[in-house]
């Protein structure tokens, strides 16, 4: 397209986005980072306090636990969802009966909110109500499944509910990927007599690389933001054993009224995400970009 002067109406069209980026994203972000360098407690104070809040933050056990939980949740939830979702997609792709029903059943949890997901699993995992009680009712008096009330195990309940919510998404992405594979590849492998599992391991998985990346990105979006699910499933407990960073920030902002510490925690999250994200976004969207027009 020949370069013409850009009309002001283009900027009118872009104005909401510009305002949102400048005020709602950048402005609030700078504000949050700014508070984290003050000694604000209940009310924001303007006194510069250097990195004191950060020193306190990393001396807080609850914060360290929440970081650890985020890593446990992220690695396990993403790992298990990818494996389970991939296996489900492969199984469904074997010309099974009732494929449509299976796909629907596996994906529907993804449509539900974390609040609903958390509540239902909290009931099912509750030892005096759900699985433990039921199995004991069948006569296995010594059966134990009380992860949700255990200090060391509660976070795995969050992983379980997270996998339940997300595995269907992976299945849908992988199934689309499998259906997009060149049919000649399958024929060739059959003629060559390659064992199916070797074919999947050495040919299908490498071909599905973009699907794996998409799924991983989608799932990791939820890891740093993990809040509602923990809130209703375990409440971060017992104690603070299943706490996560987002919940830490929310509690210190609105319940414990320690804004300085909360914003220091939020800033730490921000920096972490930026460090991971910037290289990926750059390669994904800007390196090989060909502008239109």
């Amino acid at each position: 397209m020949k370069q013409r002067p850009i009309r002001w109406s283009v900027y009118v069209g872009l104005m909401p986005a510009i305002l949102i980026v400048v005020f709602a994203y950048l402005g609030t972000m700078i504000w949050t980072v700014g508070i984290s360098f003050t000694d604000s407690r209940m009310l924001p104070a303007a006194r510069f306090a250097g990195v004191n809040q950060y020193i306190r933050l990393f001396a807080t056990d609850r914060w360290l636990t929440s970081i650890q939980n985020m890593v446990i949740f992220g690695v396990l939830m993403i790992g298990i969802s990818l494996v389970l979702g991939f296996l489900l997609a492969v199984a469904i792709d074997q010309r099974v009966r009732a494929e449509g029903v299976l796909r629907t059943v596996i994906l529907y949890p993804y449509a539900m909110s974390f609040i609903v997901t958390g509540l239902v699993w909290q009931w099912i995992l509750n030892p005096t109500l759900g699985i433990e009680k039921t199995v004991r009712g069948w006569g296995f008096e010594s059966f134990r499944f009380d992860w949700i009330v255990g200090q060391d195990t509660a976070i795995y309940c969050v992983v379980l509910a997270g996998v339940w919510h997300a595995a269907g998404l992976v299945m849908a992405i992988m199934l689309a990927g499998l259906r997009g594979i060149d049919p000649d590849l399958w024929k060739a492998s059959r003629i060559d007599g390659i064992k199916p599992w070797r074919f999947y391991l050495h040919i299908v998985i490498p071909v599905l690389r973009p699907s794996f990346i998409s799924a991983t990105v989608l799932l990791s979006l939820g890891v740093v933001k993990l809040y509602d699910l923990v809130l209703v499933l375990t409440g971060g407990g017992p104690g603070f054993s299943s706490d996560v960073p987002a919940k830490f920030v929310m509690d210190y902002l609105f319940q414990r009224q320690n804004i300085g510490l909360a914003t220091a925690a939020a800033t730490t999250l921000l920096v972490t995400v930026l460090c991971v994200l910037t290289p990926w976004l750059y390669t994904e969207y800007f390196r090989r970009q060909t502008p239109k027009g």
Binding site: G13, Q94, A111, M250, L253, A266
Partner: protein, 298 residues
């Protein structure tokens, strides 16, 4: 054999006879299906049981006497905090938040995506990069200043605050969605419209928007489910006056004195999940497109 809904049929190896591998595949799928269905089953079954039966039977037993009384109570008389009008006020608040949020966020996202893909505005790349980052950052980074801004402007705990918040945090994904969609539209079409004297907004409303109907469907699905399922925005900015259904649900099920009415709680939970579930069942394939296109690539 199975019915094939589409041309893109299964690609796995053709089944030979019923062998151990085949049985294994079906066993795996069956167990998985049970795992995914279990919570829905528990919700449905418990919501139609009288409390006496829940006390003795446990969560998984089938109901022997079906009652819809818990549903009626959950809708119209269960207590969310001090308010004993059931979950229905939350439902209507969610609807009031949902409709303007969906329309505004899609419209602004579509215009932004259109401007970024066809018009070479200065700094467009920078804007796009900032929006992309916005999609990934945790809300906790923005939330406190937004509370202060809303309080200072009198927006706090109004529907407007929630609509604005959904527009703010929906913009990255909506922009990405439409930018990718418009990237697939031939540039010559746009050039022809410009030669015909089309201006920025007239080309958008008369050419691009009508052409975007498939993407609009995807965007609506994505935003309706996303906004309906929101909790953190409603909790933070809705105040006491405008708590959406998800927030009211957590108040309704919060343990109070006396026996927890699990049947009422589960009925309320189903009601809260119903809107996105209905969208999911009706839209089917579009839902999958939505979640796949919405996040990373078009």
């Amino acid at each position: 054999m199975t019915t094939h809904h589409t041309s893109e049929g299964p690609s796995g190896p053709a089944p030979r006879r019923i062998g151990p591998a085949r049985i294994g595949i079906y066993a795996f799928l069956l167990i998985s299906a049970l795992f995914f269905l279990l919570p829905l089953y528990v919700m449905l079954v418990t919501s139609v049981k009288p409390m006496a039966e829940i006390r003795e039977g446990g969560l998984f037993a089938l109901p022997s006497a079906v009652t819809f009384e818990p549903w009626i109570r959950a809708w119209s008389s269960a207590c969310t905090g001090l308010d004993c009008r059931g979950i229905s006020p939350g439902f209507w608040i969610s609807v009031k938040i949902l409709i303007p949020s969906v329309i505004a966020s899609i419209l602004i996202g579509a215009i932004t995506g259109y401007a970024l893909s066809f018009w070479r505005a200065r700094g467009a790349n920078l804007l796009f990069a900032a929006l992309l980052l916005g999609a990934f950052l945790p809300y906790q980074v923005f939330i406190y200043p937004l509370v202060r801004i809303y309080s200072a402007t009198g927006l706090f705990s109004t529907i407007y605050a929630l609509v604005l918040t959904h527009v703010i945090f929906g913009l990255p994904v909506m922009t990405l969605l439409f930018r990718n969609y418009y990237a697939g539209i031939p540039i010559d079409l746009f050039k022809a419209a410009r030669v015909d004297g089309g201006k920025f907004f007239s080309i958008f409303f008369r050419l691009m928007l009508p052409m975007s109907i498939p993407m609009l469907v995807v965007a609506v699905i994505l935003q309706v489910t996303g906004i309906w399922n929101d909790f953190i925005m409603g909790l933070t900015f809705g105040g006491l006056a405008n708590r959406p259904m998800t927030v009211q649900l957590t108040n309704l099920v919060a343990p109070t004195e006396g026996e927890i009415a699990y049947n009422v709680n589960m009925a309320a939970t189903i009601m809260t999940a119903a809107v996105p579930l209905i969208i999911y069942f009706i839209s089917g394939r579009w839902f999958v497109r939505g979640i796949a296109a919405g996040a990373v690539k078009g």
